[in-house]
């Protein structure tokens, strides 16, 4: 079972900082990373976001390191493709016997992409690890996102945790009865798990309708929550940081390392 990042968002040391500010910092960092023409700014973003997560929010370093591995397989495969299909510039490496070569342009593009992914993912982790989703719902509400979308998301959120708990228990009970031992049994066991979970989901849905009816459901969910105070110094620091990385991103635009 995966670690749900949300669990850390409830307990981290940046919990009390205004969620709007955290969201703003995270999203701005992502945008700077994605649009940066050179690898320096995204790498700085990655460093800054990681520092915020590790030093300010006090997320355990080992857990964070494992998180960084999640996108690795996708990144390695797709960046490898780009490395080989992008021509131009000097040839750096040639694969003997095959028409494959790595050129300077390819290497530069691969490096830039790696930097952007790194910067983007670290910014995403910053949001995910410091800002509880329930507070993001309130921001979305204030941003006039359609109510029906937020309501659906809120109900889904609640049931994700109920079903994850049940899926975990079913999985454990299968393992105790020696399920998942060989490949064939694994597929069988997984099918049973999914089927049982589907039934449980269906029952939960019916129970939820009943529970909502019992409480006079009239198409409304939630209350306008109170906003957390926004400290001016925090806002100033955030603006300074974003201005800085944006400036670096512009000024290092043409920089290529190879």
């Amino acid at each position: 079972m995966h670690n749900i990042l949300e669990e850390f968002a409830r307990t981290n040391r940046l919990r009390e900082v205004s969620p709007a500010l955290k969201l703003f910092i995270g999203l701005a960092s992502i945008l700077v990373s994605v649009s940066s023409p050179g690898p320096v700014a995204p790498l700085l973003v990655a460093a800054a976001m990681s520092a915020a997560v590790l030093v300010l929010a006090k997320i355990p370093a080992r857990f964070y390191a494992r998180l960084l591995l999640i996108p690795a397989s996708f990144a390695v495969m797709s960046i490898a493709v780009i490395l080989f299909i992008t021509g131009g510039g000097a040839v750096l490496v040639e694969v003997p016997g095959l028409p494959l070569a790595i050129t300077a342009d390819g290497a530069n593009l691969a490096l830039l992409l790696l930097a952007r992914v790194f910067g983007g993912m670290c910014s995403l982790y910053f949001i995910a690890l410091t800002t509880p989703t329930t507070e993001i719902f309130e921001i979305l509400r204030r941003l006039r996102v359609p109510t029906v979308l937020i309501d659906l998301a809120m109900l889904t959120y609640r049931f994700i945790f109920i079903l994850i708990e049940e899926a975990g228990q079913i999985y454990r009970s299968q393992v105790m009865r020696l399920g998942y031992s060989r490949f064939r049994e694994s597929v069988q066991s997984f099918g049973m798990l999914a089927g049982a979970l589907f039934i449980r989901t269906w029952e939960s849905g019916e129970a939820l309708v009943l529970a909502m009816d019992a409480r006079c459901y009239d198409g409304k969910l939630g209350i306008p929550g109170k906003t957390r105070p926004l400290s001016l110094s925090a806002l100033a620091a955030a603006l300074l940081y974003i201005g800085a990385i944006f400036g670096i991103s512009l000024s290092t635009g043409g920089l290529v390392l190879l």
């Binding site: 994605v34 493709v81 889904t156 049931f159």
Partner: protein
């Protein structure tokens, strides 16, 4: 198969948001109407979304990465229509991004299109065609699920090839991306097809 944060450059990530937007807007409009008429639709959609999320967060046998389960939303498509399924897909993908670090924010548009729209649409069409032709139900379900997975993977490869044609052009790049992802995605599609067929069988037995 999720494209991760930071991978799609401008203008491609914006383009995929624009491509997905009409489906989402229509979906929201339909959803609003549906909820007004049948209030219990909302909780049922919510548990369906949670189900898809939880299924995708479980490890498939023999695979470390999670899979996208477009067929889960495909089920939503069969019940509520493809546009509402796209809304469901959007929600699930946002939660996958912030809970599991699968996918991202800027790549959300592209991922919604491949996993929330294209995949479920294929599942929906095959299921409809199969039941109309009176084919074996399990075979139909297997095909719908497996091909939905494959569609998602093909669309993702197209998205990447469009963004990074390299010096070999779109078709060359597409071939390269498709080939390398085939290593994991083709067996994954077959396993998912088998599992969804098993689930179907399980439910029918009850």
């Amino acid at each position: 198969m999720h494209i991760m944060e930071g991978f799609l450059p401008s203008p491609w990530w914006q383009i995929w948001f624009i491509v997905s937007l009409p489906f989402i807007v229509i979906g929201l409009y339909q959803l609003n109407k549906l909820v007004r008429e049948k209030r219990e639709a909302l909780p049922l959609l919510a548990v369906a979304g949670a189900f898809v999320f939880v299924l995708s967060s479980l490890k498939l046998p023999s695979f470390n990465g999670s899979c996208s389960h477009p067929t889960g939303t495909g089920l939503g498509g069969i019940l509520f229509g493809p546009c509402i399924a796209a809304v469901l897909g959007l929600i699930v993908l946002v939660f996958q991004a912030v809970f599991l670090a699968h996918g991202g924010i800027t790549t959300l548009g592209a991922n919604v299109f491949s996993m929330g729209i294209a995949g479920p649409l294929v599942a929906y069409l095959i299921y409809k065609a199969g039941t109309r032709a009176g084919a074996n139900t399990y075979a139909t379900v297997f095909l719908a699920a497996a091909l939905a997975d494959l569609t998602t993977y093909v669309v993702t490869s197209v998205q990447l090839a469009l963004a990074f044609p390299g010096s070999v052009g779109f078709f060359g790049a597409f071939t390269a991306f498709a080939a390398i992802f085939a290593v994991t995605q083709v067996p994954l599609a077959i396993i998912e097809g088998a599992i969804i067929a098993l689930v179907f069988k399980y439910i029918v037995q009850l």
